[in-house]
């Protein structure tokens, strides 16, 4: 099994090059998360250290013994990983905040193309995450289900015929499936219709969060929309419900963009132009500023203003320019925030100069 962060970084984000859904412009990515617990042990919140160790050992035996997958999975034990490397995994959305902050007996297994990540001893014993480019929940679900079925052939899950999969938090009980899609809702945001869309989604039992997860304020007009109900519907039904809802939101977003171009053409072109200008010429770039500028540039690419830019390269920047990634490229901690922000700006200017966004 591959255990090095360096190797992971050398094959960056290969899933972004996957052929699927390359025409989706509002949906950036889809994610399915399954929560599972082993029947034998207490859930992580109450378990003794020895129990958590045993959970980790049992899962590791499956991977080491080749029972799960013949092709390479990366394995990282959180308590053996330096903080910087954990932050990198967090920035790539491969681990959650829990595994970033707490390391004892926690682990993550990541598939070679970074499309699957299995967290061990997070809030539940097992958290399977499956990603897909663009808007394709079915595909993401199939991959997660595949891994889930393989594991359940060897390990006994905590399951009740009446309540379904037993999760640590009752809000996840039942199918324990959380489906979420990341959407670029720049049109709705600029036109001021976003708030009412969010309210409508909340009423339908969907959660809307900023891109940095729970409690984060919106950055770069990126939002994660996920289902809050996991019981009382079969897995396929949940996927269908969220699919239908997301399709509606996407159509509202496209309408909002079209409307803006018709009624506020110069304002929008100006917004797009200034965003590109910031990427091309800024000498100090905070992460948040970068996201906002990318949002404007992406709108430009989507609307055909920048016909030479490649949307995949633009997406890459979303993920690979976080603070931890920068420090890794730099090779050493930054002396101060200014040095870090100027390094980021330099990287971006360089990419544009070399035509790497095309």
């Amino acid at each position: 099994m591959n255990n090095s962060i360096e190797k992971l970084l050398k094959n960056p984000l290969s899933f972004l090059n996957a052929a699927d859904n390359s025409n989706d412009i509002v949906a950036i990515s889809s994610r399915i998360r399954l929560a599972r617990n082993l029947q034998e042990f207490a859930f992580p919140v109450a378990a003794k250290l020895e129990e958590l160790q045993e959970v980790r050992n049992q899962v590791d035996d499956l991977f080491a013994g080749g029972k799960i997958s013949k092709s390479g999975f990366y394995r990282f034990f959180m308590d053996e990983l330096p903080e910087l490397d954990r932050k990198i995994l967090f920035e790539r959305r491969l681990i959650s905040n829990d595994l970033l902050e707490n390391v004892a007996n926690r682990a993550v297994y990541i598939s070679a193309n970074e499309k699957i990540s299995l967290m061990v001893n997070e809030e539940d014993h097992l958290r399977i995450q499956s990603f897909c480019n663009g808007f394709n929940l079915k595909k993401a679900y199939k991959a997660a289900e595949n891994l889930d079925n393989k594991i359940s052939e060897h390990l006994q899950y905590a399951f009740d015929p009446r309540l379904g999969y037993l999760s640590s938090c009752p809000s996840n009980v039942g199918t324990a499936v959380r489906a979420s899609v990341m959407l670029h809702l720049v049109g709705l945001q600029i036109s001021g219709e976003l708030d009412s869309a969010v309210r409508a989604l909340n009423k339908l039992n969907f959660a809307v969060r900023g891109v940095f997860g729970e409690g984060s304020s919106n950055v770069g007009s990126l939002f994660q929309i996920s289902n809050q109900f996991t019981l009382g519907c079969a897995e396929e039904e949940i996927l269908e419900k969220i699919q239908n809802t997301i399709e509606q939101i996407i159509s509202y977003e496209l309408n909002a963009r079209e409307q803006l171009f018709r009624t506020k053409q110069y304002e929008i072109l100006d917004y797009i132009g200034r965003s590109y200008g910031m990427l091309k010429h800024a000498y100090l770039l905070e992460n948040k500023e970068l996201y906002n500028a990318i949002s404007g540039v992406k709108l430009g690419v989507d609307m055909g203003v920048f016909s030479n830019l490649n949307i995949k390269r633009v997406h890459e920047i979303f993920i690979s320019m976080g603070d931890a990634h920068l420090q890794k490229y730099h090779g050493a901690p930054f002396k101060n925030i200014e040095e870090k922000n100027s390094y980021r700006a330099a990287l971006v200017r360089d990419k544009i100069r070399k035509g790497q966004l095309e």
């Binding site: 399951f159 809000s171 019981l231």
Partner: protein
């Protein structure tokens, strides 16, 4: 709540012990507590925990209850929830109490907790999901022929429904009837 000894006055002190899974509870009014000299050692509303143990042992000895005692921690916990000694019931597998669940933002300690705290958990589940039954997939190892498992579930629910109607628990019967309809619907879809 009336005093367990005189059965006349309102109880102001509760002593509870969980002994091998059985709850033993004693409620005392001020008079009876005084008779057993409890008041000399603590004040209501501002409990002096240190001296309580000896005194309570004397009280319970007089009341002929075997092995009833309360630790200082348990008294402190009881004093926080004067009307609900249930909060101290411990899950036999992981040791969690409802207090622990509260402290951990509603997370349960293990699969057994779902049974031990069934009432509270089902309430929470109904609030969050607005239904109480799983109709999705089962783990491979536990999978039997879907139609057979469904048939079993439906038969059990029908039994429960009849029982509820017979004992005139109509609200519960309505909930069971709704669950039954959900399951029957999914059986039709699976055929």
């Amino acid at each position: 709540m009336l005093c367990d000894i005189c059965k006349k006055n309102n109880a102001v002190i509760r002593i509870q012990k969980i002994n091998n899974g059985k709850n033993v509870v004693v409620n005392l009014c001020a008079d009876c507590a005084e008779k057993h000299k409890a008041h000399e050692h603590f004040e209501f509303g501002d409990i002096e925990i240190g001296d309580i143990l000896d005194n309570i042992k004397k009280i319970t000895k007089n009341l002929n209850l075997q092995n009833v005692f309360v630790t200082a921690e348990e008294v402190e916990e009881i004093s926080k929830f004067p009307d609900d000694g249930k909060k101290l019931v411990k899950c036999p597998k992981c040791g969690f109490t409802l207090v622990d669940v509260d402290k951990n933002s509603g997370k349960l300690g293990c699969s057994e907790c779902y049974k031990v705290f069934e009432k509270e958990v089902m309430e929470a589940i109904e609030n969050i999901h607005r239904c109480k039954i799983h109709v999705g997939k089962h783990p491979i190892a536990l999978r039997v022929d879907s139609p057979a498992l469904l048939k079993e579930k439906i038969a059990k629910l029908e039994q429960d429904l009849q029982q509820a109607v017979r004992s005139e628990k109509y609200e519960q019967a309505a909930i069971l009837r709704d669950e039954l309809n959900l399951l029957k619907k999914s059986r039709i879809e699976n055929e």
